[in-house]
């Protein structure tokens, strides 16, 4: 039995070796806020935090997570960044947005006052095809309200 610590709770999974963390989150646990968009580690829609570091759950094997704490968007729903994204209109279709917010959380936890250059450097792994980037930048600059 695979044991995972997700958003502060303990979960057990019967997933066989080879299943990704994303598959366990979405298909087994119904945590569908984490999105599957490319499935190959290229777009960032599946980003979660592992002990606070951003990770691509679509190419993370569930069995390699170990004792690290998994944080998904479901565990960040009340984070001030969520409101900041809405206020700044930092989303359009919204499909990439949970991944954007998870990456942004990793960024502001490491540096609560990131510069524009840092935001651009640390958010470049999250593709937004709608092109909400200028507002994502604004949202992160103003995340504390």
């Amino acid at each position: 039995m695979l044991e995972l610590s997700i958003n502060g709770g303990a979960y057990e999974s019967r997933a066989e070796v080879g299943k990704t963390l994303l598959e366990v989150l979405r298909d087994e646990l119904g945590l569908t806020g984490t999105k599957l968009a490319c499935g190959e580690g290229h777009c960032g829609a599946c980003t979660v935090l592992l002990d606070g570091a951003p990770a691509l759950s679509c190419i993370t094997l569930a069995h390699t997570v170990g004792t690290r704490d998994v944080t998904t968007i479901e565990g960040l729903r009340d984070h001030p960044l969520v409101g900041a994204f809405v206020r700044a209109d930092a989303l359009q279709c919204g499909f990439c947005t949970p991944g954007q917010i998870v990456s942004a959380v990793a960024l502001v936890e490491a540096n609560p006052s990131p510069s524009r250059d840092e935001i651009r450097h640390r958010m470049a792994g999250n593709i937004c095809r709608c092109g909400a980037y200028p507002r994502i930048e604004e949202a992160i600059l103003a995340w504390r309200g």
């Binding site: 569908t32 809405v86 919204g94 095809r129 507002r135």
Partner: protein
């Protein structure tokens, strides 16, 4: 009152004359001046749901007993299935149904492009389905593919008859010209890459009815297409799309996955989800076709255009349509002599699909670049050249319903005036320049579209219509329109959409048509509900109805009385006010177009060919702006996408096999946040007084149209190099710089 009229219907530049039953649009537009909700920034009413990851997209839905489909797609560009054995797949673990060529019309034994669907499997898990697909045993007869668009034209392999447009006499116009420029421009094939891939879930009911949950831009189009293809009554097909993750034109129809899902669901007796992978997305769901544009432009020494000619090759692919690449040349300028010919090459490559202003994005690149090349030869300022050739009337004898491009040019002046400053900031190998380009596009929408508004005892209004919000903020705009009409604050209006069984017919979300098609219907429904509220208020407060109006959440009387609407609504108990509204007709005989201009600033490293877009100012004229915040987001998003189109995105195919080489997002490079320039978005924000009770046109497409040309023109301004093909890769930029250096050596 409903009436039968003959009207023009336009979707993405294609006009059709049809009989339509429409309802009269009896409402006058709102009086001039600032309004309470419309025209003011509004946060997305579904923003929290999306941002918190609670919004359920088709990708997130799981129906009881649902199976997952995987599709066998042709590995060859052109081939024939000599023999196919589906048995091994059917026997594989978890498999519940298979289908092969001919079992459903989208499965073929003669694929014409790599990625065309041949067979499909439904299994308990996607993994099982995909493993089973690998077991399908196919013996192929591999045929020589046709991949070169010019060869296809030479051979007469076309997807449709060439479109020709002509006014005046091009040759005469060229003879009259003092200066003539001829040049060839090329644009690449581009992939939509919506973040949510194409997908649907099909579920049959015992009575032969079908539910389709689908990521779509057109709920009712999917209903009608699926019903017609499967021989069902339209209302036997229920289509649901509450949240969808981007389309950009590629999700206007049901797609092969829906028919595959429906067939496998029938065979298995279980709901089936058919969700395409990213690689399938980039091979089998459409693209913006590549073009070759041979253009000629002639002008008098004073800058008056005398001739514009365009011979366009659209590399369409195995199916699809030949877009109006010559549209900008036809519509943008006053020029007496214009000739446009568009050829749609049929190739053994994936079919194109509408992609955000199809044809006009590509055609504007060529036209607005050659105009700048002409301006340089004439020694005329590029903005001045555009003003000199301003079209006051549509060349084909229609008047514009509204046109404020001149005002856009005026608003562009301060941005254009930064020229000297921009040049002065060149330093070392970084050369800086500025360029502009104009935009013309459709975007007037049209009937039919309907909406209902429901008001209950809680004093809240709910807009009900079976439209979709593809991420553009339509939900919010509809709520704003209803709130404005009902004099309610925005937070007292809800919007229910996304289900053909739970609302009336609604427009496609394509062709920049959602707000101009749906907005007037929603306003009309809100007005109908509002009128009923005032009828009750007149009785309750003993006033004449004509002195009453709805404002700020109150019923207000001209004589000074004011009563909270909530109090009035309490009288309703379980009763409800039901308003209904419809989109009225478009003004007859008028050309409804959107306009704009963008000014781009770039920096070019002339040693390494690196191009950085530093600033884009965008000024667009799309009639009344409903939500300025959302409108700015649309403009920014369009420009970001256009920057990808201009600098880094390129769908490549292997020249021998036709296989798409850039199926994955490491190879197909869309912009990241680090590629985004400063973007300034401005609007003329002048209601089109001829167009509907709202005066709004659409904004989805206009912002993506002029950007590539503005950037290319800025590159020329910075370096003297002519980039005539996109994307402007390092290779292309270094080539153009080399060519410019050779050209600069005095003879």
């Amino acid at each position: 009152m409903a009436r039968l009229i003959k009207t023009e219907k336009e979707v993405e530049g294609r006009y059709e004359e049809t009989w339509v039953v429409v309802e009269e649009d009896v409402l006058d537009q709102w009086p001039a001046g600032p309004l309470e909700v419309v025209g003011r920034d509004a946060e997305r009413i579904d923003g929290l749901e999306r941002a918190r990851g609670e919004a359920l997209y088709t990708a997130d839905l799981k129906l009881p007993g649902m199976l997952h489909a995987a599709v066998l797609r042709s590995p060859y560009a052109r081939a024939h299935v000599k023999r196919i054995d589906l048995e091994p797949a059917l026997a594989a673990p978890g498999v519940r149904a298979v289908a092969g060529p001919g079992d459903v019309h989208v499965l073929t034994d003669s694929p014409g492009y790599p990625g065309q669907a041949v067979a499909a499997v439904a299994a308990e898990t996607f993994h099982q389905a995909r493993e089973a697909v690998k077991l399908i045993d196919v013996e192929w007869d591999v045929l020589e593919p046709l991949l070169d668009p010019e060869e296809a034209i030479a051979r007469g392999e076309l997807v449709e008859e060439p479109r020709r447009y002509e006014r005046g006499d091009l040759e005469r116009g060229l003879a009259e010209a003092d200066v003539v420029v001829e040049a060839e421009y090329r644009t690449q094939t581009l992939l939509h890459n919506s973040m949510e891939t194409h997908q649907s879930i099909c579920r049959w009911h015992g009575d032969g009815k079908l539910d389709v949950y689908i990521s779509t831009q057109f709920i009712w189009g999917v209903r009608d297409s699926v019903a017609s293809q499967l021989g069902l009554n339209p209302d036997d097909v229920r289509v649901v799309c509450e949240f969808m993750g981007g389309g950009f034109g590629s999700k206007n129809g049901p797609g092969d996955y829906t028919y595959i899902g429906a067939e496998l669901a029938k065979r298995s007796g279980r709901p089936v989800k058919c969700a395409l992978t990213r690689r399938e997305e980039n091979t089998a769901t459409g693209n913006r076709n590549a073009t070759i544009q041979r253009l000629v432009a002639g002008a008098k020494a004073d800058g008056t255009l005398t001739a514009l000619g365009g011979d366009y090759v659209n590399a369409v692919g195995w199916a699809g349509f030949s877009p109006m690449t010559g549209g900008p040349m036809q519509y943008l300028y006053a020029c007496d002599n214009v000739r446009v010919v568009e050829h749609g090459a049929k190739l053994n490559t994936p079919p194109n699909a509408a992609f955000r202003a199809p044809g006009f994005v590509e055609g504007t690149f060529g036209l607005e670049c050659i105009l700048d090349e002409l301006a340089a030869k004439l020694g005329v300022d590029p903005l001045e050249l555009r003003r000199l050739n301003y079209a006051d009337d549509d060349a084909d004898g229609r008047s514009y319903s509204s046109k404020n491009l001149a005002e856009c040019y005026r608003l562009a002046e301060p941005h254009w005036a930064r020229r000297d400053d921009v040049h002065a900031r060149s330093e070392g190998q970084w050369k800086r320049g500025i360029g502009l380009a104009s935009q013309v596009w459709f975007g007037g929408g049209g009937p039919p579209s309907y909406a209902w508004v429901r008001i209950g005892a809680d004093g809240r209004a709910t807009v009900v219509t079976a439209m979709q919000d593809i991420g553009t903020g339509s939900r919010t705009a509809m709520a704003q329109i209803a709130a404005e009409e009902l004099g309610l604050p925005l937070d007292r209006v809800d919007v229910v959409l996304g289900d053909s069984a739970r609302g009336p017919y609604a427009s496609i979300s394509a062709g920049s048509s959602t707000i101009p098609s749906m907005g007037p219907a929603v306003r009309s429904a809100a007005a109908d509900a509002g009128r009923q509220l005032l009828e009750i208020a007149a009785q309750r407060y003993d006033k004449e109805q004509r002195v009453l109006s709805l404002k700020g959440g109150n019923v207000v009387s001209q004589d000074g009385g004011s009563w909270p609407l909530a109090g009035l609504c309490e009288l309703l108990g379980d009763g409800q006010i039901l308003g209904s509204g419809a989109r009225g007709p478009n003004p007859t005989g008028m050309r409804i177009l959107t306009f704009g201009v963008q000014v781009a600033e770039v920096a070019v490293d002339v040693e390494t060919g690196e191009v950085r877009v530093e600033r884009v100012a965008a000024i667009h004229d799309v009639g009344r702006i409903v939500n300025p915040l959302g409108a700015r987001s649309q403009v920014e998003g369009g420009i970001v996408q256009a920057i990808g189109h201009t600098l880094s995105e390129d769908r490549l195919i292997d020249p021998q096999t036709g296989i798409v080489l850039t199926q994955t997002l490491d190879a197909y490079r869309m912009p990241t946040i680090a590629d985004v320039p400063e973007i300034v978005a401005e609007f003329v924000d002048e209601p089109d007084k001829h167009l509907t009770n709202l005066g709004s046109k659409g904004l989805g497409e206009p912002p993506i149209i002029p950007t590539a040309a503005a950037i290319a023109n800025a590159i020329r301004d910075a370096t003297g190099a002519d980039v005539r093909s996109v994307p402007v890769t390092r290779e292309e930029m270094l080539r153009a710089l080399r060519e410019a250096r050779v050209g600069a050596i005095p003879a």
